[in-house]
Amino acid sequence: MAADSGAAAKAAEGGADAPAAARTAAAARSLRLGAVLVVLVLAAALPLFVSGFRLFQFTQVLIYAIALLGLNLLTGYNGQFSLGHGAFYGIGAYTSAIMVDRWGIGYGWTIPTAGLVCLIVGFLFGRPALRLEGLYLALATFSLALAVPQILKYFEDWTGGSQGIVLSKPKAPLHLPLTEDQWLYFLTLAVTIVLFVLAANLLGGRTGRAIVAIRDNHIAAEAMGVNNALYKSVTFGVSAAYTGIAGALSAIVVAYVAPDSFDVFLSITLLTGIVIGGFGTIAGPIYGALFIQFVPNWAQDISKAAPWAIFGLFLIGFMYVMPRGIAGFLQLVWIRLTRRAVSRSSNST
């Protein structure tokens, strides 16, 4: 978030003297903080207004937002393509399901474990991926996405083959007066907030600047002393960990995992999410998650095939007219508005 307001401040500087720009930047920062607080309050109050299936859908939005944030770390901020993040989502979901169902471990423990497993798998996949540039990385990750359902079916003893694993929804602990759906919503919300704050801190600091520098010009970054190989593979791992945690949450919330739900179309869904939400922004994943959760639902009324046709049209359409997604568009609008305010204030002095 700090990076975003920095960009706004830089843009504002163009048309005005420094104090005015600083004032606008400060205003922008407090406005942004206010907006975040409003969203948080609304999110916390949501279970008062909606319940049952609707609430379950919003839980799913939060889960998607985590997964998209993970993908955005990698593709949006670090500039490494992944067309196969559905694979990590699936690994996270299966880690959780296997731990709960086969080993009887409490579901709460499965969430960090899934993150850790995916961190390691992602790091190991990211290591060789270092040598793959752009298109080839897209190819390798796309192939990973194509191959994963088959791999999941193969280890039948653990994964239950194509039948998948059926879990039971956990009840609220400590006799809290919450329904299962409400409890899972709050649990997911808490995890989401923690992960978003962590990501914002990571990206706002030195590490984040290194990650972005590699995307923008990896040779210059190397020359500035950024260890490209290390940063890239760690980013791959962290990104996979985020997506894996999202997968684990989805296994708990949906209470069912099956190999065919982690096919290549899940990966394309996630990619659609960050394209729509906006590459390289923290808020983008939230817009993207709302899109990929609710738009297919509405489109389903037209035809079973319609959601995908709409995803496809949006993917292509956004690339033409809004390549930085909804978040980028809003940023642009914000800059336009504040720039006018700055130039007006500098004219009056």
């Binding site: 060789p128 040598r131 080839y136 191959a147 079973k304 995908w308």
Partner: protein, 293 residues
Amino acid sequence: MDIFIQQVVSGLATGGIYASLALALVMIYQATDVVNFAQGNMAMFSTYLAWSFLQAGLPYWVTFALTVIIAFVGGLLIERIVIRPVEGAPILTIVIVTLGLLVIFTSVAGWIYSYIQKPFPSPFPEKPIRIGQIVFGAHDLGAIGVTLVMLVVLFLFFRYTTLGLAMRAAAQNPVSSRLCGIRVSWMLGLGWGLAAAFGAVAGMMVAPVVFLDPNMMGGIQLYAFAAATVGGFTSPLGAVVGGLLVGVTENLVGTYVSFIGTELKLTVALAMIIIVLLVRPAGLFGRTTIRRV
């Protein structure tokens, strides 16, 4: 030994199909430095069109020709209308656009033709062909034959026609070609058209084996990726050799390595892609591109 030869021949047949699709990928890659992720699904859609023509009562080879022509025009139009606006955009943008095409083709096929599998006829007799002790499927041999004919036609086209020369020039050095009066942008369109035509042939050859279904090309496209990677994305010859190699490897590994069988076939392709990319990213026949930074 008989089983071995039989597996090799049927591997060559599926390999030929992978080779056609890989060739389509390579053709687009050479001209534009982009992998068309929708290649397989465009092929799937063409095959559905062929199915419609057959249902309407057209004879097989008329349908074949008609489908190839329509696929060519369709590919050309897609390049002109959909890809043209993002020509020269970052690779990620173009990849995303082709992924958009992929899902659109899948869902439109599902919309029109439903997701239920349909049988697709083979133009070749059902009776297997015996040579000594070994039995070959007629469709297998036919598919190899069709692939070979296509390759020869393509080779002659690129080697001996002015248009073929112009296309090669446009792919190799767009700027100089433009100065010579070649309409480079249209050459890219032609490349997409040819690639789509090749894909259509691959689709019609593979559909009798895997049945028609909007998702039928998923696995085949993975193999075509493997083929193009093994052979090298910059070499048409490599795509063909890679396709045959991948097809034969797939069959032999499936037959002789018991823990892989048919259940991990796609993983074999994934492993091949990753190993080749790590050991020799340019592939067997590809040229290593040296980039000035």
